[in-house]
């Protein structure tokens, strides 16, 4: 039993009396069963939101970017806010599956599949915004370094916007491959259990004919480890590069060397918050209470406290530096007394309250182990992190170096509609995923059953093997 050793003093990660077969049953049940009424209600609401958003996108493309609330001073606002917000949310998935794999954190296994799904769906939404903002999305492939029939001009590799193209597409495609490779054995499980011929065909196709040979598993583990090693710096690079969209400019409030680490911490902060939001609901809906436990929620909350703390320190630094420069322009950046007292004071305070003050209650152990408190705090952080990006972009741009050009940004219904549409699109994808994919890595979680399962731990405690 030495290979399955874990101290019985550690809390179990899998609750109840489970066998390998029980795990298969539990994870296959939502896929093989019928969806209930709540699922359909949620799905149709999301679908309606998505279609509304698509309508707004067609209106934008058909009429022009002028239907947005942008003006000559504020050349991007709502769209880039949403882009950064979604990319940030997309950070938790690969962080959980890659960084926590390198650190051999077993608790990641209950949540990594859904977190990665969330990552991929969130990056889809993020990618929509720059493409729509091009105005002529059918020319979107011009961002690729293609041999130029378009007049001897290559893409500009000096531009952080092009770095973004490479970072986001690498991140999306590598996350997708990482996710799918992990899914192969679990699709094979569903395939081999399927009774309906159509279902069997579909899962046979999805599983790529996975057979589970010893050699396949040896390669599988090596590939997972190397992918984790590659994805770890990749995850950190993506939001670093996103922050350079701002940090390499010369605007006061954007031209800031702490942006890369501060953005990465904020991304992990918001990503974990979104994982809490989704899993708080999903563990109930798909009956995964035995696998996504209070302990998992607490661990995620600890990551939230840590990254939220880094974000708070970054805010304090920005605020202090803005004041300390003595430059009047700095007094209108998003973290300054000028911003607090200005027209966007409400946005400033929303940021402070949702992002800094509310998450502090997680220091209390009882509260960070509560499902409902975690859920509510995660919603607050999602809102707070949206305001962070809105503040950085809209407040900074609203007051440039020439006071006669000062203007405000007011979103139109199209701005709001596209944002709501992406939220709908995200949930449509996630709801479909929750009904058709194994939401917990079935094969992987079986490997920790003997070390971290409640009944196995009890047995060891009774035998005095601590």
């Amino acid at each position: 039993m030495s290979s399955h050793y874990e101290s019985s003093y550690r809390e179990p990660l899998i609750l109840g009396e489970k066998s390998y077969h029980d795990i298969t049953e539990d994870i296959a049940r939502p896929i093989e069963g019928k969806a209930n009424k709540n699922w359909y209600i949620a799905f149709y609401i999301s679908l309606a939101a998505m279609l509304w958003g698509f309508g707004c996108i067609f209106y934008t493309v058909g009429t022009g970017i002028g239907v947005w609330g942008l003006n000559k001073n504020i050349g991007w606002a709502w769209d880039i806010t949403n882009f950064v917000w979604w990319v940030g949310i997309g950070h938790a998935g690969t962080l959980i599956s890659a960084v926590l794999l390198l650190f051999r954190q077993k608790w990641r296994m209950a949540i990594n599949r859904s977190a990665e799904a969330m990552t991929i769906f969130a990056v889809f939404q993020a990618g929509l915004f720059p493409i729509i903002h091009m105005g002529r999305p059918w020319n979107g492939y011009w961002v690729l370094p293609i041999p130029n029939q378009f007049g001897s001009l290559w893409v500009n590799f000096n531009s952080p916007l092009l770095w973004d193209v490479f970072a986001i597409s690498t991140y999306l495609s590598v996350s997708l491959v990482f996710w799918w490779t992990g899914l192969l054995p679990d699709f094979a499980t569903i395939r081999d259990r399927a009774v309906k011929p159509f279902q069997k065909k579909i899962y046979a196709l999805l599983s790529f004919g996975w057979s589970g040979r010893a050699k396949d598993w040896q390669r599988f583990e090596e590939v997972s480890l190397v992918l984790a090693g590659l994805a770890t710096p990749l995850v950190l690079s993506v939001h670093t590069i996103v922050s350079m969209d701002f940090a390499t400019s010369v605007n006061p409030g954007w031209h800031s060397t702490i942006f890369p680490p501060y953005f990465v911490a904020g991304a992990i902060f918001s990503g974990f918050a979104m994982v809490q939001t989704l899993l708080g609901v999903m563990r109930k809906v798909t009956n995964m209470e035995a696998y996504i436990t209070r302990l998992h929620v607490e661990y995620m909350n600890i990551v939230i406290i840590l990254t939220g703390g880094i974000v708070a320190v970054a805010y304090a630094t920005e605020f202090f530096i803005a004041w300390y420069t003595g430059s009047p322009y700095e007094n209108y950046t998003y973290l300054s007394l000028g911003a607090e007292a200005g027209a966007y004071g409400w946005a400033f305070w929303s940021l402070m309250i949702f992002n800094i003050i509310i998450p502090q209650i997680l220091w209390i152990k009882k509260l960070r182990r509560s499902f409902i408190v975690s859920f509510l705090v995660s919603i607050a952080i999602n809102i707070g992190m949206w305001f962070e990006r809105f503040d950085i972009i809209a407040i900074v741009l609203s007051k440039g170096q020439l006071p006669s050009t000062w203007w405000r940004f007011e979103p139109t219904f199209v701005d709001v509609g596209i944002f709501i549409g992406t939220i709908g699109f995200f949930f449509v994808l996630f709801l479909l995923y929750a009904r058709t994919f194994p939401v917990i890595p079935t094969a992987e979680i079986k490997t920790i059953l003997k070390s971290s399962g409640e009944n196995f731990k009890k047995q060891r405690a009774e035998n005095n093997e601590h």
Partner: protein, 175 residues
């Protein structure tokens, strides 16, 4: 007795399987294959499988990606059509290099990750529309299947496997 006969021994516990594999190896029998529902640590060593070289391929794919990035940025920005963009230097690749670090990093990761996974899929013969080859559907749930070729020693093997805690032993004609 024909030589394409094999024994399928099924186990329902990874620890029992490990002991069985060791025992069969100690008796100098060749284990053709073991099908598992999840990775069993140490199984590859116990079976005597050679270590995989996929990580090494990833390293070389990464080097390839880095070289592509260096060539691409040099050719487009310096050699083919140098431009003065925001006063950033484009006289030589080296002076312009700091701006290319993100591209070099991303393409290294892109090549290493994708080509390694493609190599894995090709080597393990997994791709869309491939038919699965696990002989028993239970091997993706909670059973482990050991396949041993039979060479006129059917009874001996059966007796040996019976002592290893197999829950089922079948003789199968492999086509």
């Amino acid at each position: 007795m024909s030589t394409n006969k094999v024994i399928h021994a099924l186990y329902n516990d990874d620890d029992i399987l490990m002991d069985a594999v060791k025992k069969v190896k100690d008796e100098h029998h060749h284990i053709e294959e073991v099908f598992c529902p999840f990775p069993v640590h140490g199984l590859d060593k116990a079976m005597g499988l050679a270590p995989t070289r996929l990580a090494i391929t990833a390293f070389f794919y990464g080097i390839t990606g880095l070289s592509v990035a260096i060539w691409l940025t040099w050719y487009t920005m310096i050699a083919d059509w140098p431009q003065d963009i925001g006063g950033k230097p484009s006289f030589s690749w080296l002076t312009n290099m700091p701006a290319f670090v993100p591209i070099m990093f991303e393409l290294t990761v892109f090549f290493a990750a994708h080509l390694m996974v493609i190599t894995f899929y090709m080597r393990s013969k997994i791709w869309p529309f491939k038919k699965a080859e696990n002989p028993d559907p239970r091997t993706t749930d909670d059973h482990f299947l050991m396949e041993i070729p039979v060479h006129d020693n059917e009874e001996e093997l059966k007796a040996l496997l019976a002592t290893t805690g197999a829950v089922e032993i079948n003789i199968v004609d492999k086509h």
